[in-house]
């Protein structure tokens, strides 16, 4: 049985009143949902709260969920939208450095690697949210163009255009800081 079928069964059980079935959906999707939100908002505490909201809202709106669509598209879209709403509501004066609390250095990593990773994630954070979203969906959630288009509710052509531009902008940002060969 593939994940899609497992999701469908779990949703059906939720609709029949089985709350534990919703728990299995949380278990299955918490990691990608949390990571998507984390890279969108750049703050672990905010990401945790938004992650909870996303699952709460998913439960509340299960009636409106179209069983012909894949659950992950639905939940990822919610994660991206909630993150964008959060970013819009956040005060623009908030310094970027305060938001990057999740960039804890890995002790096994050497200084140079840590610095390079740090700059990469900061550069992702500095991108426009539409570019950030496509990078996250593609490189952290490993979605195809078609799946990304479904999540973002935009044409596939636009997904490609945004993704290509995002990577080029990221490359320029890395070059500007001397983090590329």
């Amino acid at each position: 049985m593939n994940e899609e079928e497992l999701d469908r069964i779990a949703i059906e059980r939720c609709r029949q009143g089985d709350l534990d079935a919703f728990g299995t959906l949380i278990d299955r999707y918490e990691r990608p949902v949390f990571n998507a939100i984390l890279h969108m908002v750049g703050n672990a505490e905010d990401a945790r709260e938004i992650c909870q909201q996303v699952f709460m809202k998913a439960f509340e709106h299960l009636d409106t969920y179209d069983a012909n669509r894949r659950f992950f598209s639905w939940i990822y879209r919610s994660a991206i939208n909630e993150s964008i709403n959060h970013l819009k509501a956040r005060r623009p004066s908030e310094p970027l450095s305060d938001r990057l609390q999740y960039l804890r250095p890995n002790p096994a990593e050497n200084y140079e690697e840590a610095e390079r990773r740090d700059h990469l994630t900061k550069s992702i954070q500095a991108l426009d949210e539409n570019y950030r979203a496509v990078l996250i969906l593609r490189h952290f959630l490993h979605l195809s163009y078609r799946e990304m288009a479904d999540v973002l509710n935009v044409p596939e052509k636009m997904v490609k255009s945004r993704l290509f531009t995002a990577r080029q902008l990221l490359r320029q940002a890395l070059e500007a800081k001397g983090h590329v060969a």
């Binding site: 709350l19 990571n35 909870q52 990469l120 593609r138």
Partner: protein, 214 residues
């Protein structure tokens, strides 16, 4: 570095594994003849590799909190189609009256209060099916920035802003839990006072004794 749109598209398609055989052949031909295209291909592949190498953060395990919130907010059953959220004034005055009348009737007809209350709550362990009395109308025992404690008869409602409520298990027993709030009841035969405590992030921030001889 200037490259036409088609070349850029082919480069990204190849990096994402979405190039068709024909796309790939077209790209190979371009790469064979253009140093600029090769440099761009390598640059984009490097960016993609770096992105793919970003480690996954450990999720915060929101399942218990989410399910607890759902349980505490659902009144008529788990089915989302029948989902009713608990509002700002969640408890119904009618229910309080019903409980008061039931307690009074039990006393009159000689049924133990404990038994009555236990029977009222226990058959439906599911928080979703529980109906809470309007504790906001109960007399105030104490209130701080972190917690409000109210009492009615031998019951105590502890409503923290956040955190975990703890109590003397030997003297008080849990009747209902609504999110982080709890309704406690004096155990049969317990006298004197019982301690109620609140901890936030593992640190005790509040404690108060409540009188059991009411």
């Amino acid at each position: 570095m200037w490259l036409d749109d088609r070349t850029l598209e082919l480069i990204h398609l190849a990096i994402d594994g979405e190039a068709t055989e024909s796309d790939r052949a077209e790209l190979d031909a371009i790469l064979a003849n253009s140093a600029e295209a090769r440099a761009m291909f390598e640059a984009m592949r490097d960016v993609a590799r770096r992105l793919d190498g970003v480690p996954t953060a450990e999720p915060p395990h929101v399942r218990p909190a989410v399910l607890e919130k759902i349980r505490s907010g659902v009144r008529t059953g788990f089915s989302p189609s029948r989902l009713t959220r608990v509002g700002p004034n969640p408890f119904r005055r009618r229910t309080v009256l019903a409980v008061v009348y039931a307690v009074a009737a039990a006393i009159v007809i000689g049924v133990g209060v404990d038994r009555l209350l236990v029977e009222r709550v226990r058959p439906q362990e599911s928080a979703a099916s529980m109906v809470a009395p309007d504790v906001n109308d109960w007399p105030l025992v104490t209130r701080t920035a972190d917690v409000t404690v109210r009492a009615l008869g031998d019951r105590y409602a502890v409503q923290p802003r956040t955190g975990v409520v703890d109590w003397e298990q030997g003297k008080l027993e849990l009747v209902e839990r609504m999110g982080s709030s709890v309704i406690l009841q004096r155990r049969h035969g317990a006298t004197g006072s019982a301690m109620i405590r609140l901890s936030i992030a593992g640190t005790e921030v509040f404690r108060t004794p409540v009188s059991l001889d009411r």
